[in-house]
């Protein structure tokens, strides 16, 4: 019931916005925020939670009268994480005169679209694009993100594995994706920089394959003491299950893509003892609790991937606009960098390159069916 209602209402709102934008000449009075991302195709599950987060925040803000006396309006664009569609979506948003953008979801799509936004002087905040190049290259002064880069995370994970757990022999596995492979390569680099450590196996698995027992056997054969996995939770859950079912006790250490409660539910008892890095614990943060509750109330389900990051991104940009008292590019960018804002991820602001300060990572361990932060 509820779900159907959701589709109908989204559809209705979309239709309304369409006619509204055609007919109404004073549409410029709203603050327009573009939300491009993968909403169809195989990566839709990483893109849709961002739309929901943005909608919930905006509904909240509009109910309180908007910002700067103007209502906020979302323009949602699907690009299926494909570079060419992303650059089309970007030109569409630019033509539609959006004031800021929350997205894109995938690093590849973000790279393809950023140049268009940069030329048009539009601020982009991504909840999920983690490629280090996006901020480190310094090419995109208009880019911000509410998630740490792969490099930061890989450093934390490899340090943890080498210095805290004191392992020397690793198998580094990834899902061949932009995110997973990037993470795995950095992890491999950092491990090889340490003394007396080496990577016995570095390989990619095929996401969506029917079975992973061959690679599991290979991990076992390599004699690695620990597996470092770069990728998302669906494949990680399969690999861990098959490792444990074969009686292997090799430790499994992974990234933010795995630090998701769905992983524990899917892998069940086999998730026990898995380490994963993730954003610092937010369960005591009242804003995070409220954000998750709002999602449950509106959609009847648990929020999906990057939900809190997107929620924080939306809050951050709206806050910056209200602090800057305008939607002008330089002022908003300055406000983003200069002001700390309370979000579900904690108090955050942004550094010169666009990475969020205050969005750090911690290591987590699955203990009795839940992630426990290690301090």
């Amino acid at each position: 019931m509820k779900n159907y209602f959701f589709f109908r209402s989204v559809f209705g709102v979309a239709l309304f916005l369409f006619f509204f934008s055609i007919l109404s000449a004073n549409a410029a009075e709203t603050i327009k925020i573009g939300v491009p991302g993968a909403h169809t195709g195989d990566l839709a599950s990483y893109g849709l939670p961002t739309v929901k987060a943005a909608q919930l925040v905006v509904k909240d803000v509009n109910a309180k009268g908007g910002i700067l006396g103007r209502k906020v309006e979302l323009i949602i664009e699907d690009e299926a994480c494909k570079p060419e569609l992303a650059s089309n979506a970007a030109t569409k948003l630019v033509s539609g005169k959006v004031d800021a953008v929350i997205g894109h979801i995938c690093s590849g799509a973000t790279k393809a679209a950023l140049r268009t936004y940069k030329d048009a002087k539009i601020i982009v905040i991504s909840p999920s694009a983690t490629s280090p190049e996006l901020t480190l290259s310094g090419q995109y002064p208009n880019f911000f993100r509410t998630i740490g880069s792969d490099a930061v995370q890989a450093k934390l994970v490899s340090d943890f594995a080498v210095k805290t757990l004191k392992f020397t022999k690793f198998a580094v596995i990834h899902d061949k994706g932009d995110y997973g492979k990037g993470f795995a390569e950095y992890a491999k680099k950092y491990i090889e920089e340490c003394k007396n450590t080496h990577v016995a196996l570095f390989e990619g698995i095929t996401a969506g394959a029917v079975d992973y027992s061959a690679i599991v056997q290979k991990i076992k054969h390599s004699g690695a003491e620990a597996v470092i996995y770069g990728g998302y939770h669906p494949e990680a859950a399969s690999v861990v299950q098959q490792m444990r079912k074969k009686g292997m006790k090799t430790l499994f250490i992974s990234d933010d893509g795995v630090k998701d409660n769905t992983f524990i539910k899917v892998a069940g008892q086999y998730a026990e003892g898995v380490y994963a890095s993730g954003p610092r614990d937010t369960t005591n943060n009242p804003l995070a609790i409220a954000a998750i509750d709002a999602h449950r109330k509106a959609y009847g389900t648990e929020p999906g991937a990057f939900y809190l990051n997107a929620y924080s991104a939306t809050i951050a940009i709206l806050n910056a606009i209200s602090k800057a008292k305008s939607t002008q590019y330089e002022a908003v960018a300055k406000a983003l960098r200069g002001n700390k804002v309370d979000t579900p991820l904690g108090k955050i602001s942004f550094d010169k390159k666009g990475d969020a300060l205050g969005v750090g990572f911690s290591m987590y361990l699955v203990k009795n069916g839940a992630y426990v932060e290690l301090k």
């Binding site: 570079p83 030109t91 033509s95």
Partner: protein
Amino acid sequence: MKITAELKKSFYIALWFILLTFPIMVIRVNTIEQIVIWRWVNLLYVGIGSFVLSFLWQLFLKKKSRSVQTIGTKPSPLRRLLYEPKFNRPALVVIAIFTIIFPFIFSHYQVNIMTTALIYVMLGLGLNIEVGLAGLLDLGYVAFYAVGAYSYALLNYHFGLGFWTLLPVGAILAAFFGILIGLPVLRLRGDYLAIVTLGFAEIIRLILENWNTFSFGPSGISNIPRPGLFGIKLNSEQSAIYMYYLLVIFCLLAIFVVHRLKNSRIGRAWNALREDELACQAAGIDKTRTKLTAFALGATWAGMAGVLFAAKTTFINPASFTFLESAMILSIVVLGGMGSIIGVVIAALAIILLPEYLRVFSDYRMILFGAVLITMMIFRPQGIIADMRKKYESHKTSGSKIKGIDQNG
């Protein structure tokens, strides 16, 4: 005729669909929290929807079977518009003017998606050589597109070569890959050929994805330069317009070349090959050469389209070259009417532009696309514009104009 009988049938069909979609549409489970949600209202919508649709379906099917008997007695208005000089000259002038002033009356975004659509026109025309003219079912056409795009991106990155140098290089490399793929599959026919080409395309995509030191892997290559115009610096809007005109020129070139090829000696050899391989050999046509030229010439256009694509988006990664892309290009060729140039152009514009304008329906976009593919095939399997064979024997056009195109394969 018998409306009540039809209504009754529609009613049973609606009932069947209610039963069929029951678990998927009504029940929604949350396997994590063990909650089950029942959405009974959906049943009503499915029932009404399938009732109306099945009624219309039967109506149109009947209409279609009736119209099959009367086909060809009178040329359709569309056909007259296309082929009679009285109509098509003014139409061409209007289209030409529209094409030229398009970037100045529409926004940056419109120009951009039109450019994308024109890239697909080129791809469609190229694949049309393989599938439409020579009857070689290629499910991996996107491989050549990838070769073109990556040859521009990589050679530019490593050697700093420019767009105009690399355009022919990309085309030649793609043609080379066309021959490379063509050679081992010479003995294969029909669907075996289809799966092997699909396999080749996947192999190329997987290599691009995995071989980081060569292709930068899944993170792709960014900051590919846009083509220059005598050293003038263009901003993004101007260069979008420049890309648009470039693609218009290349599409015209493609149309011209394919049109000339179609009625040339090699074009007739392709036709013969498509209709009957054995008879074709018996008639003294060199099968190997004919097939390989089809692959090479088809691939050339994809290679050029790839270079243009890389220059337009300025970023490429392997995600743009999946099987779905090949399926899309193939749909363009089949929907347009195999072998028909105008049909392919119209279909490419429709398939790429419609989903863009259907963005309002966001979530429902792809499901509609699937449904359109099915209905088009059922109600117009010969495509939007069925190909007309050039006739050499007489000028009196008799009734059976459209015959002959559906006997291939």
